[in-house]
C-alpha cells in the first residue's frame, strides 16, 4: 500500500508559510467584503471564502493532501454527512407552505 510511504511525507516549510499568509489575507478580505453591499450574495461570498480557508487547513496543515485514501474518504464522508443534515432539513424549511395552507 503506497500510502504508507507517503504518510511520512514532510511538508516543506515554504508551503506552510504560503498557506499561512493566504489564510491571514483571506481573513481580512472576508471582513472587508462584509462592508460591501452584496445583498443576498453576502452569505455566499463569506461562506465560499471560509470553505476555501478550511480546505487549505485540511489539505496542508492536516496533511490530508499527502494522506492515505482512507483519510480522504473520512474527510469526504464527514462533509457529506454534514451536508445531508443541513440540506435535507433546510429542504423542509424551504418548502413549508408550498401547499398554501399553514402547517402543511
Amino acid at each position: 500500500m503506497q500510502a504508507h510511504t507517503e504518510e511520512h511525507h514532510i511538508v516543506p516549510k515554504r508551503v506552510y508559510a504560503l498557506v499561512f499568509v493566504t489564510l491571514i489575507i483571506l481573513t481580512w478580505v472576508t471582513a472587508w467584503v462584509s462592508t460591501v453591499d452584496l445583498g443576498r450574495m453576502n452569505i455566499y461570498v463569506a461562506l465560499s471564502i471560509a470553505v476555501f480557508k478550511a480546505t487549505l487547513v485540511v489539505l496542508f496543515f492536516m496533511h490530508v493532501k499527502y494522506g492515505s485514501r482512507l483519510t480522504k474518504l473520512i474527510v469526504c464522508s464527514g462533509i457529506l454527512w454534514l451536508m445531508l443534515l443541513l440540506f435535507i432539513t433546510m429542504s423542509d424549511i424551504w418548502t413549508r407552505g408550498w401547499i398554501g395552507v399553514p402547517g402543511r
Partner: protein, 234 residues
C-alpha cells in the same frame, strides 16, 4: 477499501517489541501509529457532526429572520473578531511547525512551538472572555434581562445571541480542553518523550487543534460578518 494485510504479511514475530511505546496488542509501531491517526480522524468526524446541529439551527433562523440576524450580528465587534481569527490562525501555524519539528526530532523547537501555540490559544480565550464580558454588560445574554438596543427585530434577536453563545461557547470549551492537553504534551516533550520515530500524540493533537481552528474559520463570518454595509471595518 484496500486491505492492509500487506503491512503485516510475513511478520509472525514482534519485530518492534523492544519499543517501550508499543502496546502489546499491536504488531509493530507502524500499525500502532496508523491506528491512532485513524482514531483521531474518526473522532473529528464525530466533532464535525456535533457542531453540525448548531450550524443547522443557525441556517434555519438566519433564513427566517434575516433582519434580526443583521442587526444582532452588527453588535459584535469585527475588529476584535478579525484579530482573534488572526491569532487562531497563527496558533495553527505554530502547531503545524511543532509537528514538523517533532518529525525531525528537534526537541527544542518542538517545545518552543508548542509553547507558542499555547500562548496564542490563551490570547484567543482571553479575548473571547473580554467579548463575553462586553455582552454581559450590554444585557445581550438571552434570558429574562435580554435587550438588543437599536435592533429592528429585537424579538428574534435573542435567537442570534443564543446561537452566538452556543457556538462560541462550544468552540471555547474545545479550546480549553486543547489547552489542557497541550500543557501535558509540552511537559512530555520537554522530558524528551518524543522522538523522530515516535511522536504520534503530537501529530494527532495537531489534527485536533486544526479542526478547532476550522470551526472558528466558519464561526467568524457567520457570527460577525453579516451585512455590515456602510459600517467602517476599523
Amino acid at each position: 477499501m484496500a486491505s492492509h494485510t500487506s503491512a503485516i504479511e510475513g511478520h509472525g514475530q514482534h519485530e518492534g517489541s523492544h519499543d517501550p511505546n508499543l502496546k502489546h496488542h499491536f504488531e509493530n509501531a507502524e500499525q500502532q501509529k496508523e491506528t491512532a491517526t485513524l482514531g483521531m480522524w474518526a473522532f473529528l468526524l464525530t466533532e464535525l457532526m456535533f457542531f453540525g446541529g448548531l450550524f443547522l439551527a443557525y441556517f434555519v433562523y438566519r433564513h427566517w429572520y434575516p433582519v434580526a440576524f443583521i442587526d444582532a450580528s452588527n453588535k459584535t465587534d469585527v475588529l476584535v473578531g478579525a484579530i482573534n481569527t488572526t491569532v487562531l490562525i497563527c496558533s495553527s501555524l505554530t502547531m503545524a511547525l511543532g509537528v514538523h519539528y517533532a518529525s525531525k526530532g528537534n526537541r527544542k523547537l518542538l517545545v518552543m512551538f508548542l509553547v507558542l501555540t499555547l500562548l496564542l490559544g490563551g490570547i484567543f480565550l482571553g479575548v473571547k472572555g473580554y467579548e463575553y464580558h462586553d455582552k454581559w454588560v450590554h444585557h445581550e445574554i438571552p434570558g429574562e434581562h435580554f435587550e438588543c438596543h437599536g435592533c429592528r427585530d429585537a424579538g428574534h434577536a435573542s435567537l442570534f445571541f443564543s446561537l452566538y453563545f452556543g457556538m462560541t461557547g462550544l468552540h471555547a470549551s474545545h479550546m480549553i480542553i486543547g489547552f489542557g492537553v497541550l500543557l501535558v504534551l509540552i511537559w512530555q516533550a520537554w522530558k524528551g518523550k518524543f522522538t523522530a520515530k515516535w511522536y504520534t500524540p503530537i501529530e494527532i493533537f495537531g489534527l485536533y487543534w486544526h479542526f478547532v481552528d476550522i470551526v472558528w474559520i466558519f464561526l467568524f463570518p457567520l457570527l460577525y460578518l453579516i451585512d455590515r454595509v456602510g459600517k467602517p471595518l476599523l
